[in-house]
């Protein structure tokens, strides 16, 4: 099976965000990395495109994303002081959405920086 080569890929494992990595990938996983450090290599190789987990869980039971989104929205709307936390391993685009959501539900938004 032929490999896709991605040049100048960006590694988001640590705060260095090296953007000169070369990745060799098949449809499911990354098989080789160039220029990545040991941490970056394991980061890229440990994450695959396989379906290893259920798409969503509600109270530990498998559910659809649609149902989970509705339940999540109910919890956040009904809370008096919801917290949106984390955001270090997501994209800036997702962070913007998170800020917008926090404002809408009148909550607190915080990242790993505060730790």
């Amino acid at each position: 099976m032929s490999l896709t080569v991605v040049k100048n890929a960006t590694c988001t494992f640590c705060g260095c965000v090296c953007d000169d990595i070369e990745l060799h990938a098949n449809a499911e996983k990354i098989v080789a990395t160039k220029r990545a450090c040991s941490l970056g290599e394991s980061w890229f190789k440990n994450h695959t495109a396989e379906r290893l987990y259920p798409e969503a869980l509600i109270d530990g039971q498998e559910a659809t994303v649609d149902a989970a989104v509705e339940v999540a929205a109910d919890y956040l709307v009904n809370a008096n002081m919801p917290l949106v936390y984390g955001m270090s391993n997501v994209t800036c685009e997702a962070q913007r959405e998170a800020v917008s959501l926090a404002e809408l539900v009148g909550g607190i938004i915080d990242s790993h920086t505060s730790l």
Partner: protein, 305 residues
């Protein structure tokens, strides 16, 4: 170049070679030879091998060393036993001040060993003050060594959207900032929150136990590529694509340079961005939150009315 409370050789393996220590620059044509590196830490980590001067201080004495440095930089007198309390010979502290003032461009990279120990954000504030005061003598800056991928992006996004970098309270409809009051660990340990959305983090594995206990008590929603420790105590978990591996977007490097992600894989799961947007749209379809609505005096108003 001062690394303080961090171990870049093991935690940011390419920091020395790609960014800081060995790269040749316009004013440092010989790379490593044109630079002086100092490491301040409580134990001798592999990073100490790269350092010209290694200062091993006693645990929890970071703030004391910062204070002594700030005094010496300004030429104030410091009691001789102050250095002994930190665990250093006074001469080494004087040497460090000499090196800092002799530098043409100095930087302090501070890690979690500084910001997470006794003194916490006061330590970070002290280092920033020290760097600011050094500018009376030479060019000097300070930069935190960020651990996770895009935590710098979180600072930047919150800064340009709310005016504050983290711990922002939007309960009153306008942003308020107060670390210690609106920072996650403090909120959760006090038990202030009554719901939590966690994305791109696993507090169930890293936070103090009282904070984890509170996350298990309240409805917690987790967005993560894996079923994490936090997912197991959460009411809702949604699996998302992996940032940078199978989800596209932008991430900030720790020196605040935004970089595009080039994912190599196609994920069967939606991205965090898509899921958060869908939750926001679902929230918008519901009646707005009003003070007291969740109490006895119900009062329903719709969004967009």
């Amino acid at each position: 170049m001062i690394y303080w409370g961090g171990n870049p050789a093991e935690c940011h393996p390419r920091h020395f070679t790609k960014y800081s220590l060995t790269q040749k620059g316009k004013f440092t044509p010989n790379g490593r030879k044109d630079r002086t590196m100092v490491l301040v830490d409580i134990r001798e980590t592999p990073s100490a091998k790269a350092a010209d001067l290694f200062l091993q201080i006693r645990p929890g004495k970071d703030f004391e060393l910062i204070s002594v440095l700030r005094a010496l930089v300004k030429g104030q007198r410091v009691r001789a036993d102050a250095a002994a309390e930190i665990g250093l010979p006074m001469q080494q502290v004087h040497d460090l001040v000499g090196m800092m003032k002799a530098a043409r461009f100095g930087i302090i990279f501070f890690g979690m060993g500084l910001s997470m120990t006794r003194g916490k954000h006061m330590n970070s504030a002290g280092v920033l003050m020290l760097a600011a005061e050094m500018n009376a003598f030479t060019k000097f800056v300070a930069m935190p060594m960020r651990g996770h991928g895009n935590v710098t992006g979180a600072d930047v996004v919150m800064r340009y959207s709310t005016g504050y970098p983290f711990g922002v309270n939007l309960c009153r409809g306008y942003p308020r900032f107060n670390p210690g009051e609106f920072s996650t660990v403090d909120l959760l340990v006090r038990g202030d929150n009554d719901a939590c959305l966690v994305l791109g983090a696993d507090p169930g594995a890293t936070m103090p136990q009282p904070a984890i206990d509170h996350l298990a008590r309240i409805p917690t929603i987790v967005l993560d590529p894996k079923v994490t420790h936090t997912s197991r105590l959460a009411r809702v978990h949604i699996t998302t694509a992996v940032t940078g591996v199978s989800a596209p977007g932008t991430a900030y490097r720790m020196d605040e340079i935004p970089l595009p992600l080039r994912p190599a894989l196609k994920s069967p799961y939606p991205t965090d961005e898509q899921v958060v947007r869908r939750i926001r749209e679902a929230v918008q379809r519901r009646p707005a939150w009003l003070p007291g609505r969740n109490g006895k005096h119900g009062n329903l108003v719709s969004h967009g009315m």
